[in-house]
């Protein structure tokens, strides 16, 4: 147990001093703040247009339509986070997972670690728990920034329900990012070259984030990014009809759908439906975790330091 804790602590300590990690973290936090700003900007623009329209309509003696933001949940202003997490957050998670293994190999310390009374399972759980702790801290920082953004936009602190939904959204995001962290671990264990391992992980990220959603939505160009429900049917070609069947297992699609539900629909969502959408994310995470664990168990850590 103490070896697991020591390995996790060392990983977090090393991460905090890595420029790559700090830079990507800064970008994610910046984008979280920007997401709030974009929400506030669009909110105030629409309100200004609405106020102007109401004035014009009243001057013409016509009835004014209801305020479009009156019925829209406050948290929907943070919708851009549903895009930033799979983009910047996932890359950050890949870096965390990649460094968890590659830092040790590059420093040539894996040989020393495994000459100590350390079980391979302790090493694996140390790396995974250290990485998960780092992701949890990042998500907590994003949550804090989002709370500040929502408070500023609405000129009042979020309600308990809103705070719970925000927490749920970042818990889901953290779970989603664990998948990419594990992809970083797996590629770092499979490939000896640092650059190739990182490139392979990024290739998988592209596949999960862009290629799969495009295929499962019949190549609708905005589908890979925007968290919107299907406005049109998939393309009628047999190929896209077949690939659209794979949508339930596209983790990116499920993450976006669940996040949209949490931020814009809240309590109106059906729990059973949400569980079905969460299942592929959890299953893929468990499969990757199992694979990474097996690789750590079988890996030859007596090898020389990793190549640059």
């Amino acid at each position: 147990m103490s070896a697991t804790v020591a390995i996790a602590r060392q990983h977090v300590q090393s991460l905090a001093r890595r420029q790559t990690f700090v830079l990507m973290l800064a970008v994610l936090l910046l984008m979280t703040a920007v997401s709030g700003f974009i929400g506030w900007s669009s909110h105030s623009t629409i309100i200004r247009v609405y106020d102007e329209t109401v004035r014009t309509l009243k001057a013409a003696g016509k009835p004014a339509p209801p305020n479009p933001f009156a019925t829209k949940p406050h948290l929907s202003l943070l919708n851009n986070m549903i895009i930033y997490v799979p983009l910047i957050g996932a890359l950050l998670a890949i870096v965390i997972g990649h460094l968890s293994v590659m830092d040790d190999r590059h420093a040539g310390v894996t040989r020393v670690i495994f000459s100590r009374p350390v079980e391979r399972s302790s090493y694996f759980w140390g790396k995974v728990s250290g990485s998960a702790a780092a992701i949890a801290v990042i998500m907590a920082a994003c949550l804090a920034l989002s709370v500040i953004a929502v408070s500023l936009i609405n000129s009042s602190i979020p309600t308990a329900s809103e705070f719970l939904r925000l927490t749920l959204f970042y818990a889901l995001s953290g779970t989603y990012l664990l998948i990419f962290m594990l992809i970083g671990v797996v590629t770092a264990l499979l490939l000896r070259s640092q650059s190739m391992a990182l490139l392979a992980a990024v290739a998988v990220w592209v596949l999960v984030t862009f290629a799969t959603p495009q295929l499962t939505s019949g190549l609708r160009p905005v589908a890979s990014l925007n968290p919107v429900t299907d406005p049109v049917a998939v393309s009628h070609s047999p190929f896209f009809k077949a690939t659209s069947k794979a949508k339930p297992i596209s983790v990116n699609d499920q993450y976006k759908a669940l996040s949209t539900r949490i931020l814009t629909e809240g309590s109106s969502a059906k729990p059973a439906n949400s569980a079905a959408k969460l299942a592929p994310i959890v299953v893929l995470g468990l499969l990757l975790g199992g694979w990474a664990s097996l690789l750590v168990k079988r890996h030859d850590f007596s090898e020389e330091a990793a190549r640059d």
Binding site: S2, A6, V109, R111, F114, R116, A305
Partner: protein, 258 residues
Amino acid sequence: MRCPAYGVFTVTPSDLRPDPIIEIENLGHSYDDTPVLHGIDLTVQQGEIFGFLGHNGAGKTTTIHVLTTLITPTSGTARVCGFDVVGQRLHVQRNLGYLPENVRLYDSLTAAENLRFFAKLSGVEDVPAAIDDALGFLDARELADRRVGTFSKGMRQRIGIAQAILHKPRVLFLDEPTSGLDPMGVRQLRETILRLNADLGITIFMNTHLLSEVSRVCTTIGVLAEGVLIYNDSLAATLQRFPDEASLEDIYVRLEDR
């Protein structure tokens, strides 16, 4: 006898019984289908400084990897401190220290943070005391709070040795410890090895190319060629056996030619 710098009860040469601390029988290892060790038989006694010689690719590092439990041998058996390297891995690991060639440690952490990490892995109970003892023994206390990334090769080597002796092992494995060191660094390392052996009673198993150091430090030598142990005896006996050769280098060349 209590070692003042290290703060532990140590073993004097007279206490040392001629007990085998490393016993290797018919040890073989292959990488995929390529054999690198061919049935080695070797015994290292407690308190010795054993120099393991051989050209690049002879199988020296593979032997150390087997003895430090990093790899499982394909045939034969090896025991360290009486424990089998395959069946009693954790017992073996608790009794050994290991410094690989070109170990860099974690550059982003300080020396003390690196040592704290390895002390925790080694199950050391009083970590601050162990770190202070090890750094004190190596005259490296001033390096404790500096990041390893800023260290010279010699400084890294001292911290590397500190991590290897934190848990007070009975046997220390050094893989090419002089690699990349300047003459002053080599001299410091030689003195450290002698003190580790004399003051703390640690048996040293050292892979090296530097024959001049072997002749100054080692009590026993073994020569490995193409995965076969072609020679094993005490340094004194070796020098007596080859009276015509001017140096250990000449003896080594003659053994290799044989």
